[in-house]
Symmetry: C2
Subunit: 149 residues, 2 copies
Amino acid sequence: MPKLDLDAFPLTNRTGYPAPYSADVAGRRYRRLGPGAGLEDFGVTHVTLEPGAWSSQRHWHEGEDEFVVMLSGEAVLVEEGSRVVMRAGDCAAFPKGKANAHHLVNEGERPCVFIAIGRPAASACHYPDIDLYLDGATQRYAHRDGTPY
Amino acid sequence: MPKLDLDAFPLTNRTGYPAPYSADVAGRRYRRLGPGAGLEDFGVTHVTLEPGAWSSQRHWHEGEDEFVVMLSGEAVLVEEGSRVVMRAGDCAAFPKGKANAHHLVNEGERPCVFIAIGRPAASACHYPDIDLYLDGATQRYAHRDGTPY
């Protein structure tokens, strides 16, 4: 059955971020749909942000495109030097290698829901606001100077 | 600006289907978002089906995954031996190589809108209901016996 029973996919708020950066995404609950649905060409994640939650730390990937479409509620898309509200039906694209760090923040009082499309992470990821860096080769988080967490 | 101004993307109802199969998708209006937004890893298409329109002829791809999320309105997802209604927020996945031909049909009285994710077509596509075949090597439509249209 191609139509997905979303409730059948495991729901998690897991993150690989070290403390204290993990706290900002504690209210991010998500389901990875791709593998369970049999998809290999791209990843699909169904995300709910509780009020106050962030989609991620503000970041940009060297080697993976990302795409987001809002399904319900509102979030603020924060990028380099600007903020814009995203509502149901709004789309945003984040081409790889473009140093425009971004994330979604739920500043409202109700949950918001979006779909994120991407590829498995295999490159470095940059976090300009904080002392965090994702190494491209190891896919491990480190301080900016390379010291492990 | 990562948030996309959808109206800035060209809107078309173009199809490569030969007559008479082209008529079923005449009311399918779509915008390809990927290239204009700078995305290379996957394709993103924003589709509106007018009442009566089909998303495609019922088909399955040998080599490309597909994913659909409904944004507004309703469509009937027709697959092998079953029909199910898709509403805003519903998701469907179509793994490559799985011979479960599918399409969306707007049987309602209002337009419906969805996002389709995929990869550039590079494999054969099968249309079990009609005398149509997409050759994998040439990416040209033919009769099932190989005769060109």
